[in-house]
């Protein structure tokens, strides 16, 4: 939905820019990121050549195809496999798919240009070593699932008759256990997978989000899916009208191998960048257009700065933060700012707009009073994992002995260190999670106490090889300890999150939040005023912006009540009586002013004294 809105936004701006609607070339785009990026790239190539062009989003492949044949569209990017569905399906021979579609489409007045370079096949994805699909490597193996397959898919895959879901199910003899979950946004689709709401997710080979979400692709042993080589398709009459068009569009040929396309998609899907700016950057890098900035883009827009600590390894949360911030400030460049010690510092000192932090950062000892920042959105939840060797059946004192924790200055390292210190224990070893787990396996450590998201790949992968076990630690959080570590909450890791984990794990969780300057810090003198034209670079967000931000993260949970946020300090930035003693100051000011007013009224109304008569009014 967000993607659609983004595309619609780009569309409306680009539509508006064109003066003569009839003359301009119509570029078709299906409603997903890749098509939007490529359509924008084509548009800017054409604009560079002095042609007028606009992007039209069609509702799906069928719609695009129909409009292209009817002449409503002049050009679009199509995939060979998809196109063949419209002209009778792929022939079993070994003919190159591009020459095949060329041959079949020429009678229709449509010309296929040189392939762009990537193959955007459908891919069937499963989470790495997690859930019911563990050990399954190919689509045909899915038939082994006893209860049938639960699918998360985009809507179009349901409808396609020859290379769609039903065709695939029949081809491989699978059984669906439920109605398929239809989710348009690929990232949300993969989240459904990771959360166990589906067993497989349908994606595209060029999806930008596959690599960093811990998913693997199932093989297609019997070649159910035809190749989907992407190429630009143009109406023959359009090519004839504009002589230079073919050569111009062919400059893109072969320039988009799969990994490049994946990066471009990732910029839109994961980072939330606008398709148009992604396309422009790409064209500028290839020197296909002059890097002279087009109208409507201010030249030196200051970037939004998001700081985070590398040691915290908050990968998915940082990606989510980028998406949300991009959504809030569309078209504005984002810059990552890595900080070594405390990621709150750049925000509290006014050098960054946002920071991605784990909640315990607010309670570091070096803050004598709360830093002037507030949590504006929840980015994720991390769980305390106490991992030990599988054969260790002693549940009594899991925190004793040789315990490894995450590196110094990292969020997880700090939490684990604090937990250990309450038991008068010290960490034996500090290291990244895979290192620690290897040491457990080799017998060098008795346990690892680490903080990460539930189902994290770096734990899930070693777990699938066996020999490890997660223990419950939730009972450690006594009320007294909860006071000292207020950012920890009792929580449970669901059963089946890791291989061979049959029961829930009782443990603690901590929120990862997006932080921005405190609204309290801003002087009441907002952005307005006669001399206040300058935009304060690091201004706090308004409550409406905060609402939009937490909507954009997709996590509706509010920041923990112990953190300063919109929900704990009140929506009204001025409503802070009682904090910092300013309530008393405000009352005194009010009383003084009222007394003063009374005195002024008395001065005006009392009877004039005779000697106050002025002596020079006669002059």
């Amino acid at each position: 939905m967000r993607l659609m809105a983004l595309v619609a936004l780009v569309l409306s701006t680009s539509l508006g820019c064109q003066s003569s609607r009839d003359e301009s070339l119509q570029i078709g785009a299906k409603p997903f990121a890749e098509q939007a990026i490529l359509a924008e790239a084509i548009r800017h190539l054409l604009i560079e050549d002095g042609l007028d062009a606009e992007v039209v989003t069609c509702s799906n492949s069928f719609d695009c195809q129909r409009r292209l044949r009817d002449g409503d569209l002049d050009v679009m990017v199509e995939y060979s496999g998809t196109a063949l569905q419209f002209v009778g399906g792929p022939t079993p021979d070994r003919e190159d798919p591009i020459s095949q579609v060329r041959r079949l489409f020429r009678p229709l007045g449509l010309t296929w240009l040189e392939p762009l370079g990537f193959d955007n096949s459908y891919s069937i994805l499963v989470p790495v070593n997690q859930g019911a699909t563990q050990g399954i490597e190919s689509i045909s193996d899915l038939a082994q699932l006893p209860t049938g397959v639960r699918v998360a898919t985009p809507a179009e895959f349901l409808r396609r008759s020859r290379d769609g879901l039903q065709a695939m199910v029949r081809f491989y003899g699978l059984r669906l256990s439920d109605e398929p979950l239809v989710i348009a946004d690929p990232v949300e689709r993969f989240h459904a997978l990771r959360e166990g709401r589906a067993d497989i997710a349908v994606g595209y080979g060029t999806d930008g989000s596959i690599s960093n979400l811990g998913l693997t692709e199932l093989s297609d042993p019997q070649h159910f899916f035809p190749p989907y080589r992407a190429a630009i398709v143009v109406r023959q009459e359009t090519l004839e009208q504009h002589g230079q068009l073919e050569a111009r569009l062919n400059t893109l040929a072969g320039r988009l191998p799969t990994d490049i396309m994946r990066q471009l998609n990732s910029a839109v899907q994961v980072d939330g960048d606008a398709p148009e700016s992604v396309a422009l950057r790409f064209l500028e890098e290839l020197d296909l257009i002059e890097s002279e900035t087009p109208v409507h883009r201010a030249k030196h827009v200051p970037p939004i700065l998001v700081s985070y600590s590398k040691q915290d390894t908050l990968g998915p949360e940082t990606a989510r933060a980028f998406r949300a911030v991009r959504h809030l400030f569309p078209g504005r460049p984002l810059k990552r700012l890595t900080s070594f010690r405390d990621p709150l510092v750049p925000v509290s000192s006014g050098r960054a707009h946002f920071s991605v932090v784990s909640a315990e950062r607010f309670f570091m000892k070096h803050y004598r009073r709360p830093p002037p920042v507030e949590a504006v959105a929840v980015l994720g939840i991390r769980f305390v994992h106490l991992i030990g060797p599988a054969e260790d059946r002693d549940e009594g004192a899991p925190l004793q002995g040789r315990v490894g924790i995450q590196p110094e200055l990292s969020s997880g390292g700090f939490i684990a260190e604090t937990i250990l210190s309450t038991m008068d224990e010290n960490a034996t070893l500090r290291g990244e999670i895979p290192v620690l787990l290897n040491k457990i396996r080799s017998g060098d450590l008795d346990a690892a106490l680490v903080v990460t998201e539930a189902g994290a790949t770096e734990i899930a992968r070693p777990f699938s090889r066996g020999g490890l076990r997660i223990s419950s630690i939730g009972s450690w959080l006594s009320p007294r300890r909860a006071v000292n570590m207020p950012y920890l909450r009792r929580a449970r890791i669901p059963a089946g999150t890791y291989a061979n984990q049959e029961v829930q794990i009782d443990t603690m969780s901590v929120q990862v939040v997006l932080v921005s300057p405190s609204r309290e810090r801003e002087a009441i003198t907002g952005a307005a005023g006669p001399a206040a034209a300058l935009s304060t670079p690091m201004r706090p967000l308004t409550s409406a912006q905060i609402d939009r931000l937490s909507e954009a993260t997709g996590i509706l949970e509010t920041p923990d009540a112990v953190l300063p946020s919109l929900w704990t300090t009140g929506r009204d930035a001025m409503d802070h009586e009682g904090r910092n003693g300013s309530g008393l100051l405000e009352t005194i000011l009010n009383l003084l002013v009222i007394a003063f007013l009374a005195w002024v009224v008395f001065l005006v109304l009392r009877r004039p004294t005779p000697h106050a008569m002025s002596d020079d009014s006669s002059s």
């Binding site: 409306s12 701006t13 508006g16 820019c17 409507h296 201010a298 030249k299 030196h300 827009v301 200051p302 400030f329 569309p330 078209g331 504005r332 006014g350 810090r521 801003e522 002087a523 009441i524 003198t525 907002g526 952005a527 307005a528 005023g529 006669p530 001399a531 206040a532 034209a533 300058l534 935009s535 304060t536 308004t542 409550s543 409406a544 929506r571 009204d572 930035a573 001025m574 409503d575 802070h576 910092n580 300013s582 100051l585 405000e586 009352t587 000011l589 009010n590 002013v593 003063f596 002024v600 001065l603 005006v604 004039p608 106050a612 008569m613 002025s614 020079d616 009014s617 006669s618 002059s619």
Partner: protein, 517 residues
């Protein structure tokens, strides 16, 4: 007259010298403190202003509206015909120059930046109702004009009127405390008047130093957008400040009818060129229709808006950061603009003064916002769009994005940078003049040495603020004077209300009085 001034000389000479040294050393202390410990300065300034403004919102809102009512009553009441000066006095400046100077001193650079940005901001994020609709467009124009219209000029005008009345008619010095000293004979009056003088001086100094600092940052942002110079280098900021200081010092070294007058006239000429250029090259009929609608909407909504505090709409935050902020800014600037306007208004009648100060600038700003805001709305509603996105992205870029839609965009960008520069120089020059006046017994032509001393002082304070690197501090310092000055203004009004009934009205006024009763 000689006797009076001799008298005041004997009485106040030690105190006025004292006030010069006390105020200058207080400013120096703030400057030094700001350089040595910017954190402390930032905390103190923001804590104080925040507490004062959040507690006293009702007071500011009510008093600004009261000033407007009082100004209208003075203009149309029985004292309207009184002349600010002797019967034979005539206005020192032509009405055009007078309005130009009013405008340059009072609104300054904000008008340039908010011209397109404010209507678009209210259009995309209206306090009430749905955004982006025709209704929200109308509401946006009304709100903008409400913020920049009669209320602002009532604050300035009333402050100026009182000083001009006492100064030109009763020969008091042009000091904030003078009306109090003149009208009240209690033992409290002398120290209170002295404190009033001091508050006015500090208010002007802090306000202008803050504004100067902001002007520097605005120029830096503008240069960054137009020429791509570094956006956040302190060295660059201090360089711009140096250029500003040199310029206003040169202007301050000349007399008021050369330096400030010429600068104001150049300002107005450049602003008028921009206005007319956009009016012609932009959507002319659309702009004119916007103007007529805005005048009608503004006047018909004036009464309702003046006393509306939106307690039921849940928009306190909006109200605080817009309407209230504007009103506080106008009060913070009043000691400076008020004294300056008083200085240039000798020889006008109360009615002529009030009407001139209220009507002319308000009409000009409605026209201004209709041209800039109307063009921006036209781009947004009928044209290619992009204004709303630009404003959301960065308010400072709004003006330049607007220019990109018009022919000769780079030239327009350059003109507006020159305009910002001159606006800031004019404000700073007027401020050194006013400070010179305030610290030399209210002399209408303060000695140049004293003006230059203040010029250096203002520059040093701005440098300190810039070096603190915290824009919140700059803003907080700029409006710090608003609270005490609002109280002083009330005392001045009390003084005026007690002195006016003792006026022996001329035949004409007496006749009117009888007719009325």
């Amino acid at each position: 007259m000689v006797g009076v001034s001799m008298n005041s000389k004997q009485e106040k000479l030690p105190r006025t010298s004292l006030i010069f040294w006390v105020s200058l050393s207080l400013c120096a202390a703030v400057a030094v403190g700001g350089i040595l410990s910017p954190e402390t300065l930032a905390n103190a300034a923001t804590t104080y202003t925040r507490a004062a403004f959040s507690a006293l919102d009702w007071f500011f809102m009510a008093s600004v509206t009261a000033y407007l009512i009082l100004a209208v009553w003075l203009a149309f009441g029985k004292y309207g015909g009184l002349k600010l000066g002797r019967p034979e006095d005539t206005p020192e400046f032509s009405t055009m120059s007078w309005i130009a100077m009013l405008f340059s001193a009072g609104m300054g650079v904000g008008l340039l930046f908010w011209g397109a940005a404010e209507p678009i901001t209210h259009f995309t994020a209206p306090p009430i109702g749905e955004s982006g609709t025709p209704d929200s467009a109308r509401q946006a124009m009304v709100l903008t004009n409400f913020h920049w219209g009669f209320h602002a000029w009532a604050v300035y005008g009333l402050g100026a009127l009182i000083l001009a009345y006492f100064g030109f008619r009763h020969r008091t010095p042009y000091l904030a405390g003078a009306p109090i000293r003149y009208s009240f004979k209690g033992a409290w009056a002398v120290p209170v008047a002295w404190i009033a003088d001091l508050i006015a001086i500090l208010g002007v100094a802090f306000g202008v130093a803050g504004s100067l600092g902001m002007g520097v940052l605005q120029l830096q942002a503008g240069l960054h957008i137009v020429a791509g110079t570094p956006a956040d280098s302190t060295t660059m900021a201090l360089g711009i400040l140096c250029a500003l200081v040199i310029s206003y010092m040169i202007s301050a070294a000349t007399s008021i009818d050369k330096g400030i007058k010429w600068l104001s006239n150049i300002n107005m000429a450049l602003a008028a060129i921009l206005l007319v250029y956009i009016l012609i090259t932009g959507p002319t009929d659309y702009i004119l229709a916007t103007f007529v609608t805005a005048v009608s909407d503004y006047t018909s909504n004036l009464v309702g808006m003046s006393l509306r505090l939106y307690p039921f709409d849940g928009i306190d935050e909006w109200f605080a950061s817009w309407t209230l902020t504007y009103f506080i800014w106008w009060i913070a600037w009043a000691p400076f603009v008020g004294i300056f306007i008083a200085r240039i208004s000798r020889g006008r009648t109360i009615r002529g003064f009030v009407l001139g100060v209220l009507l002319a600038p308000t009409m000009v700003s409605i026209l201004w916002f209709s041209v800039f805001g109307g063009t921006a709305m036209h781009i947004e509603l009928e044209g290619g769009g992009g204004m709303a996105a630009a404003v959301t992205r960065d308010v400072t870029t709004a003006l330049f994005v607007l220019f990109e839609e018009l022919p000769l965009a780079p030239v327009l960008g350059l003109i507006s940078l020159v305009l910002i520069f001159i606006f800031v120089v004019t404000s700073a020059d007027s401020a050194t003049f006013v400070l010179g006046m305030l610290t030399s017994k209210g002399s209408l032509n303060p000695p140049t040495r004293r003006k230059l001393a203040w010029g250096v002082g203002l520059g040093a304070m701005s440098a300190a603020l810039l070096m603190s690197g915290n824009i919140d501090t700059v803003k907080a310092v700029a409006v710090m004077g608003a609270v005490p000055y609002a109280l002083i203004l009330l005392l001045q009004i009390a003084a005026l209300l007690r002195t006016l009934p003792k006026e022996r009205l001329g035949q004409h006024q007496r006749g009117r009085e009888k007719e009325g009763s």
